[in-house]
Amino acid sequence: MDMGQLPILIPLPLFVMALVVPLAALARPGAAFPLALAAAAASATASALALAAVLDGGPMSYALGGWAPPLGIEYVVDHVAAYVSVVVTSVSLLVIVGTRRWAVREAGDRLGPFYGLVLLLLAGLLGMVVTGDLFNLFVFLEISSLAAYALVFMGGRAGMVAGFRYLVLGTIGGALYLLGVGFVYFATGTLNMADVARILEVDSSGRAVQAGAVLIFTGLGIKMALVPLHLWLPDAYTHAPSSVSTLIAPVMTKVGAYAMLRMFLSVFPDGYLRDAVPVADALLVLGLAGIVLGSVAAMAQTDLRRMLAYSSIANLAMIAVGLGIGTPLALVAALLHVMNHAVMKAALFSAVASVRLATGSSSVGGLAGLGRRMPLTMAAFTLGAVSMVGIPPAAGFFSKWYMAQAGLQDGQWLVAVVVLGSSLMTAVYLFRVLERAYFDPPNGHPPDGHLGRAPLVAGAAPDAPDVGAAGESPADVVLPALALGAATIVLGVLNVAIVTNVLEPGV
């Protein structure tokens, strides 16, 4: 196979199948899930091959439709893009497997359109990852966002309201990004990222470029839920269907963060976002504020999904801090955290989805005694939690460690303090969950021999705690969650290899 085609092969299977799946499901509803899974697997394979090819032969460029860049749209797969697309596709693959039961329950007879939207969401995200064109990035950003709005809207009455508010705020973000691209385009006369970088390298004095940079980062800030632009996120993640929040919480905002990183690495000249416009300083301050605010808000939540949503805000803020410091070590830490947070948040959300599947509840109080009754699910949750807190050798420790080091090297001791503090606060809100699950006696009835999955079968009210009847979730729910939990340890052990081989050449 011609390796030069790999950049387009990453998003293409998803785009094609996003159209095919709803049509195929009209004829055979059962076909939706296997086809969606095949598309995600094809994209994951292309991503893995692309990563191998990049590690072997350096960055790849693909001229879309045969039109040579900078006039045509260019897809660029460098170390960073290949790495992020491998993370996004492999996490999504596991999540799609693990949430099949939820999808069947929540989408009902509309599984075809549901999986069509899921694939469209992933296609947009991966398009954002591989594109080397500013306007093309906008189009992919809106494709993925539109699919996400519709998926969140499927989450019942509260999800509908959250979905519409997400749409309004997300569209403001997209519009501001587009306006910023307009400023940059009229100042430089090009939309190709590498070309913009070349032109700005020579002359970046214009005020139009400064305005463009600020607008681009404000727009992307909304999409990645940077404090104080995060207000859409908690409701969207809490009220979205379980099959949806498990997917969008790990990957969606992370790609927004990646788009910001792209601006630092490939669009604006080195130091421009620090010296000419104070974007880096703003990211640093808002990031530090976001870590504290997100962690404090997470401690106050009694619903697991809402708690994890606020914890997402804190962790995205951590990535913003890495961009704000801007040294190579800090960018490596931010990128490592993109992967670590995607994997551990997927493990946590998958475990919560499994708990809700078995018990019908996602409140912290409803977890009592689950450590014994759902040992595998709670093992996945524990692995994710250990990594979130940052206990070696779990992956989460290393990105926080690099981040704190990067802060100290740059003389920003506050970064080290806040990163350490965030670990303590994460321990407070996650170990509280573990304590409840492992040490509290069950508050329901003891299992009476046949471990019935009452809510799933009998259709009980979705949020009525019924822990007494709960047993372990089926294997196809638990195993992906466990795999994600185990991955946090494996990736933690492998972190040096990832950093030296993939991330350091990339930044």
């Binding site: 709005y149 009455r157 309004v168």
Partner: protein, 123 residues
């Protein structure tokens, strides 16, 4: 001041429309009005791109006859128009999805007033 505004009229119009749109999206309680504000803001950005493509004394970028007007100076920049065609498509898609949401919200809650929607959800 007035000369400054007149010289850069499209930009001031863009800024004014964006502010009007943002005001509608943030301050209005009716979700329909929020959606209208969103459309105003998107239109403002389309206006901004089109205004940026113009050039004094230039014509549409079509080569009428060989030899005449072959210089790039004689044409307006066609690229922003093409970009805005795509942006309009994106905008129509978002508006379409949003209108579908509004229909479903209205069926489910019987109102499109934000305060009363949030109150019903909380209960």
């Amino acid at each position: 001041m007035i000369e400054e505004i007149a010289a850069r009229f499209p930009y001031w119009a863009t800024a004014a429309l964006i502010v009007i749109g943002l005001y509608g999206m943030i301050a209005k309680r009716s979700l329909v009005k929020k959606l209208i504000g969103m459309n105003i803001m998107q239109s403002a950005i389309i206006l901004f791109f089109i205004a940026g493509s113009l050039r004094e004394g230039a014509s549409v970028p079509i080569l009428f006859e060989a030899g005449r007007g072959a210089s790039a100076e004689d044409f307006v920049n066609p690229l922003p128009h093409v970009l805005m065609l795509t942006a309009i498509v994106v905008g129509v898609a978002i508006t379409g999805v949003a209108l579908a949401f509004l229909v479903r919200l209205r069926e489910e809650f019987g109102t499109l007033d934000e305060e009363s929607l949030l109150e019903q959800v909380r209960r």
